[in-house]
């Protein structure tokens, strides 16, 4: 129940019938994490949604003040844990910005390769869980889910060969990366990427022209361009609403300027448009990986000596903010440094946090079943939202 003055719940007038307040979450099979939505229903139509977050708050920003620059990249992956490589990249890039550290070219290319592989894995999980929510744990959704997980396992196997871990890597360090690629890894990555490209055709055949899928996603959860720009969503949400904003193009980082790729933009703004954007991003990520593997330069993987002690990296006084294009949108990391081995202040700009703010604008007016489809297409990860 909204009690405080500050929280105004937007309600739309509907039919004037009796209203029912229903709680969706925090324990719910399709809330994508711990997230509570208090829905006000009239029959089957949602007239108001009140989103409650904070169930996964783990004090990342305070942890950033107590852990040094050497220790925190392993923890940074736990904010956006589905897309861990981009989260670590945001933190490490911010440190490098303040300390004015040059990253060697090979390290930059390696960062691009793992970030795009991570984007593929994250989108596999997105597609699987979205279809699972829409199709049921016992039903066609589970079929698409298991196919996507089967493909994601292959990408995770590549990460396991590279770093030793499957989900939370600790791959980035200030000045470069921590691991170099083992022999034969680039050949295996090429095979994996070819295989996934073929399987993508299968998913599209299963879902694209499927009348059931279309009828669930077209016209549902339309984010208009004005709402998208004013609320501040990013990533596939804003690209599905007609704004061609991608941080990799707007402010190229880590030699993204060397690669040739297309940024997909759709104008419809509904769930189907966001689905199309992410499916094109799959293929573009594969394209970037192939280009990066072809052009991988020789050289060191770090411009600083290997990590030997906990206070090894000292950063001069200053502040820095970097943004990267995570799988869900723009991840930003703001660090204020006071000259020691730990930051004075660390602030995360979570992509999903801003993306979730669009829910009260688009959900009222839809049916309960659409709420699930919309949540899936917004694709939040609550590590980023609650930090």
């Amino acid at each position: 129940m909204p009690e405080t003055q500050a929280r105004q719940v937007v309600e739309i007038g509907y039919g004037g019938n009796e209203r029912l307040m229903m709680n969706m979450g925090p324990q719910h099979p399709s809330s994508h994490g711990v997230f509570r939505m208090i829905l006000t229903l009239e029959g089957e139509t949602v007239v108001a949604v009140d989103a409650v977050i904070g169930y996964l708050h783990r004090c990342h920003e305070k942890l950033g003040e107590t852990l040094t620059y050497v220790q925190y990249p392993s923890i940074a992956s736990k904010t956006d844990y589905v897309s861990a490589m981009t989260a670590e990249l945001a933190y490490v890039s911010a440190v490098e910005q303040i300390a004015k550290v040059e990253v060697p070219r090979r390290a930059q290319y390696l960062r691009v390769i793992v970030a795009e592989l991570q984007r593929i894995a994250s989108h596999c999980l997105w597609l699987g869980t979205w279809c699972l929510d829409m199709g049921g744990a016992l039903g066609g959704g589970a079929t698409v889910f298991l196919y996507c997980i089967r493909e994601r396992e292959m990408v995770l196997d590549r990460f396991e060969e590279l770093t030793g871990a499957r989900l939370l890597y600790g791959f980035h360090q200030t000045g470069g990366t921590r691991y170099d690629i083992p022999s034969g890894w680039d050949k295996k990555v090429r095979e994996t990427v070819d295989f996934i490209e073929r399987r993508l055709d299968e998913y599209e055949a299963m879902l694209e022209d499927n009348a059931f899928f279309r009828v669930r996603t077209q016209g549902v959860g339309v984010i208009s361009r004005e709402v998208a720009e004013s609320v501040g969503v990013s990533g596939p949400l804003i690209r599905g609403s007609g704004v061609g904003y991608d941080v990799r193009r707007a402010e190229p980082y880590s030699s993204y300027g060397d690669f040739d790729f297309v940024v997909p933009v759709e104008t419809a703004g509904d769930c189907y448009a966001r689905y199309r954007v992410r499916m094109v991003e799959f293929r573009q990520s594969i394209r970037i990986i192939r280009q990066a593997l072809d052009g991988l330069p020789e050289g060191p993987i770090s411009s600083r000596p290997g990590v030997k002690s906990v206070a090894q990296v000292r950063v001069p006084k200053g502040e820095g903010y970097t943004r990267v294009e995570g799988a869900r949108g723009e991840i930003g990391c703001y660090i204020v440094s006071d000259g020691g081995p730990k930051p004075y202040r660390l602030k995360w700009r979570g992509a999903s946090f801003s993306n979730l703010a669009v829910l009260p604008h688009i959900v009222p007016g839809h049916k309960v079943a659409d709420v699930v489809a919309i949540m899936g297409s917004v694709d939040p990860v609550f590590g980023e939202v609650d930090r």
Partner: protein
């Protein structure tokens, strides 16, 4: 010693009921293995290696041993009666199904009518379950269920009436006998369309994906069954799968020629079982391939598409039979 007819029928009913319960249990295993193979995995494996033969037994024992949790705020009488009211019609429909020319509990001469009427009674149990649970999710699901099942019972009945019109009788054994020349599903256009309409209506009347919005595991978390546990849950599951199997048997009898098939007479029941399993597997195949659609879209399909089509189909069938009768004499 001759037994009185009543006693004889009672024994038959007892045997059919027991066979049915075992069959339903193993049909769940078949569905799980089939679905698993379609998803690149194996399904039940360890219980009764290597194919999980004992899995249904393990599930039954587990459900019997589970704690029976009753919500304090529920409407006790309605809540406790609901699984029984749901289960009984689902088992009763097997009374009219003949497994061989003279083998069946009660081969009524209004067999099809009895089947269709009794199978619609399950909705009462469903609604009782949703209401008695005193849970908003269950209530939402029960309301959707009433909407959906009532809407789809009409096309179901009309699609099932097409073979009745073609055979000229509602007695199931007579319908099967009328298919000795050509199965009804093979009749040009009418047969195939009626079979497809029957399958679609079955999917919806059974709450199978793509029409399973009322149990929607990812939204309503098991719908009207959400507050049931232990043996009551087992009864509801049993009822669902028994109904599913019952409509598969009905489809096999009405459209696929029942017990007719090559080979000696006594193979008849086996052919019937095989055809029912084929229909069940087709329904399972559809279930594991599609996402579900919203309840207003489901209702739109029923009232705007399926009902007019089946009505037209029935009229066309009547016309065909009348013309055949007029020409044949």
């Amino acid at each position: 010693m001759t037994l009185t007819p009543v006693l004889w029928h009672a024994i038959e009913a007892f045997i059919v009921l027991n066979v049915l319960l075992v069959l339903v249990a193993y049909v769940t295993l078949l569905e799980r293995k089939f679905a698993a193979r379609m998803q690149s995995r194996i399904g039940p494996y360890y219980v009764g290696r290597p194919h999980g033969w004992l899995q249904p037994v393990a599930d039954a024992v587990k459900l019997m041993m589970k704690e029976d949790i009753v919500p304090t705020a529920s409407d006790r009488a309605v809540y406790n009666l609901a699984p029984i009211v749901f289960l009984v019609p689902c088992l009763l429909i097997f009374a009219t199904i003949p497994f061989a020319p003279q083998l069946g509990v009660a081969d009524l001469n209004i067999g099809v009518l009895f089947f269709l009427a009794v199978s619609s009674l399950e909705i009462v149990g469903l609604f009782m379950g949703g209401w008695g649970s005193n849970n908003k999710y269950a209530l939402l699901s029960a309301m959707r269920a009433v909407n959906q099942i009532i809407s789809y019972d009409l096309p179901f009945i009309f699609a099932a009436l097409v073979p009745v019109v073609l055979a000229g009788s509602m007695q199931m054994s007579a319908i099967v006998v009328a298919q000795q020349g050509l199965w009804f599903v093979a009749y040009p256009v009418i047969g195939q369309l009626a079979f497809i309409a029957f399958l679609v209506a079955t999917l919806a009347a059974e709450n199978r994906v793509p029409f399973d919005i009322l149990e929607a595991e990812s939204e309503l978390v098991a719908g009207f069954r959400v507050e049931y546990s232990g043996m009551k849950f087992a009864l509801i599951q049993l009822g669902e799968y028994a109904h599913m199997l019952g409509t598969s048997f009905l489809g096999a009898l009405l459209f696929l020629g029942g017990w007719l098939g090559p080979g000696p007479e006594w193979l008849g029941p086996l052919w019937l079982l095989l055809k029912a399993i084929v229909i069940f597997l087709i329904v399972t195949w559809v279930r594991w391939s599609f996402v579900r659609i919203r309840v207003d879209q489901i209702l739109a399909i029923s009232w705007k598409l399926l009902l007019p089509s089946t009505l037209m189909l029935l009229l066309a069938t009547g016309l065909v039979v009348a013309m055949r009768g007029a020409s044949g004499g």
